[in-house]
């Protein structure tokens, strides 16, 4: 139980996918302008990460590893995640049109999101078992949501700020992203110390 909590806290704070590993930067910069959109995107990413892990971990363990095909995992994972997201979209459209309407734009965006692929691959590389993988995915998704929501707040302040002409738009956004990432650097070592 303790190790699971450590995995969760580590993936949310220390190894935050966006701010420490620089994965999933595209949605981080693209949909963080408004708080509700950022939260929607974060929720969709948590959902897809959990689903992708639940499918890719068994595929790796029971199909690829048994046949000595671990080196194919990247290609297979891309394929499986893309198909999975499409499937989820079709089913949502049929049975939950309102949820589909609110998530609809984000789901296809996540299909090839490197953060989702990164989580599934890192679960294998860190040789987590199934439970640990799911907890790690949940943590990464929560970390992504946290980063999105925090940065949406930063960007709403940027809207009314008056930076020098040449920094307006994307440059100042990237600089503030770097500063937010720097603040997350302060978490390294904190989580292990909590349970020592």
């Amino acid at each position: 139980m303790k190790s699971l909590i450590i995995i969760l806290m580590t993936s949310v704070l220390v190894n935050n996918y966006v701010l420490s590993k620089f994965l999933g930067i595209c949605p981080f910069l693209g949909v963080s302008k408004k708080l509700n959109q950022a939260a929607g995107m974060g929720a969709a990413v948590i959902f897809v990460m959990l689903l992708a892990t639940a499918v890719t971990w068994p595929i790796h363990t029971y199909i690829l590893a048994r046949n000595g095909l671990e080196y194919m995992k990247t290609i297979v994972f891309i394929l499986v995640i893309a198909a999975l997201v499409q499937l989820v979209e079709i089913i949502l459209k049929k049975y939950m049109p309102s949820l589909h309407a609110s998530l609809g734009i984000y789901l296809p965006l996540i299909t090839t999101n490197c953060a989702v692929l990164g989580v599934t691959l890192n679960n294998i590389n860190d040789s987590y078992n199934f439970i640990e993988s799911m907890v790690n995915s949940l943590g990464c998704g929560l970390g992504f949501l946290l980063a999105m929501v925090l940065f949406a707040g930063v960007r709403s302040r940027l809207e009314t700020a008056n930076p020098p002409e040449s920094f307006k738009g994307l440059p100042i956004t990237l600089i503030s992203a770097a500063i937010v990432a720097l603040s997350f650097f302060g978490f390294s070592g904190v989580v292990d110390g909590l349970f020592a």
């Binding site: 595929i59 000595g68 095909l69 194919m72 297979v76 394929l79 079709i90 459209k93 049109p97």
Partner: protein
Amino acid sequence: MNPVLLAVIVVCSIGILCAVVLVVAARFFGVEEDERVNEIRECLPGANCGACGYAGCDGYAKALAEEEGIKTNLCIPGGDAASRQISEILGVEFEDVVEQVAVIHCYGDCNHTSHKMDYVGIQSCQAAKMFYGGAGKCGFGCIGLGDCVSVCPNNAICIENGIAHIDTRKCIGCGLCAKTCPQKLITVMADVERVLVTCNNKEKGVVARQKCSNACIGCKMCVKHCPSGAISVEDNLARIDYEKCTDCGECAKHCPVGCILISDFSGIHRYSEDNEGQKF
């Protein structure tokens, strides 16, 4: 077994399995969409300006296909051509679109008026207006920080000499600028009208004149000289009734401050049949 062959077989079978699952899912869970939505969407210009009253071109196309009795001529940027195509797809009678352009009722540029302060706050008209009505001497005029420029989907507006100018050749008549302008200076009107009062100052003549040399002073010269009785002066400001106006231009000739302008909007039927396909 040959490891290469094994890899190919395993990955291919996973791929085929995914494909089969997706095909089955699409067959059983698929939601049928009206084909006409896509066809109508193709006819619309795709500027997503919202002039039709729907949330973008997709919203209008969907509403047209799904509900009956919606007018096909609501897309002003698309003009007659789009209306005709949509009417053909839906099998309803074609209605003419009145092309519209946005005009600005202020000509108080740097040559006519000046500033009462140096404004260094947030660079938007909305914010500047809240701060003592903007930097300009005239509290009714164009603030010139370009809120309209940023909403224009077709880059038809620019700020020159401190006030906004609309390029009527580029204007698609969506009216987003009119909704945005905090001074309510912009109106959207049918592009056949030519005479325009380029002032919005409702103060008394003397006060207005001190602030801007282009200001309407409410002298009623235009009212006297208008042969069709189309002009009235309300709140010290001339107003033209375009139902009665015949575009004769007498008012512009006799306006002592020159705040009534004759503008030529001809040649801006952007979506007419001879230049079809000019999409935005």
